[in-house]
Symmetry: C3
Subunit: 113 residues, 3 copies
């Protein structure tokens, strides 16, 4: 039950989405018990994003997690996802934020877990 929301100031091509989607599906396994089978991803491109007062290319990854995974797992996931965004989209790591929100209440198929 994770959700990864990618926001970028630039564009993401269909090929890049496919590549990132496939990569994320593997990388999400860095959180114990999480798999692509329960992963939702949103790619939002061309966002009006400012970072450090300027409009140079940047990205924000918002990760929502049902329950919690612990700081080491999040550390590993940040490294993997940021490295992937850097590689695929060419946005440097120092222009990428990754933030996490843990939640106790998450519904699927009309019921909460």
């Amino acid at each position: 039950m994770p959700f990864i929301h990618v926001r970028t100031s630039g564009k993401i091509s269909a090929e890049q989405k496919q590549e990132l989607k496939a990569d994320f599906g593997k990388q999400i396994g860095l959180l114990p018990g999480k798999t692509e089978q329960w992963l939702m991803i949103q790619f939002e491109e061309g966002c009006g994003l400012y970072f450090q007062g300027n409009e140079d290319p940047c990205a924000l990854l918002d990760i929502s997690v049902y329950g919690g995974a612990g700081s080491e797992a999040y550390e590993n996931l940040t490294r993997a996802l940021s490295g992937d965004i850097e590689k695929v989209l060419g946005i440097p790591g120092n222009r990428i934020y990754v933030k996490y929100a843990e939640t106790e209440y998450w519904g699927w198929n009309k019921e909460n877990f």
Copy 2:
């Protein structure tokens, strides 16, 4: 002070928005003390959403709540909102996530509650 953010991979017609908006305005009463008078809703359509590795129609409902409502109330709201999305937009329940975020700090009219 709830906020319901609906994201769908497909389109939502003006008529569907009106229907969902009216339904949500009633269903929000499943959370104690919450009414349409304090409800904000965002409909975001045509999102680049992947679920379970594919792009079949799916939806994510993000519910932000000032304070808390308790697990039973959230359970009831998940059932109502998901059922409504399924009925109005034709997205099956097993392709709908509903996630909740409770917050302690919420401002309106330039002051926090």
Copy 3:
């Protein structure tokens, strides 16, 4: 490591974005230790937003904060940001929500803080 996400039902001109961006860069200092140097901002306009059951102009400001800042600091920030939105975009304070999310896990440059 704050992130301010502005959603409005109406449009935001390039000049208005510049003005809001510059103002936010100063106002973020109302949170102890936060500066424009670490601030990311997203302007999302033309959102399908309903508030109180109608589509009159309204706005939602979503503030994500690494760690916490305390209720008085948030109170001050709500007053400053809402006043700014009212002044620059002409949306009345009683049609503006400001909500806060604190998070323990936040990554930058491929590592978590």
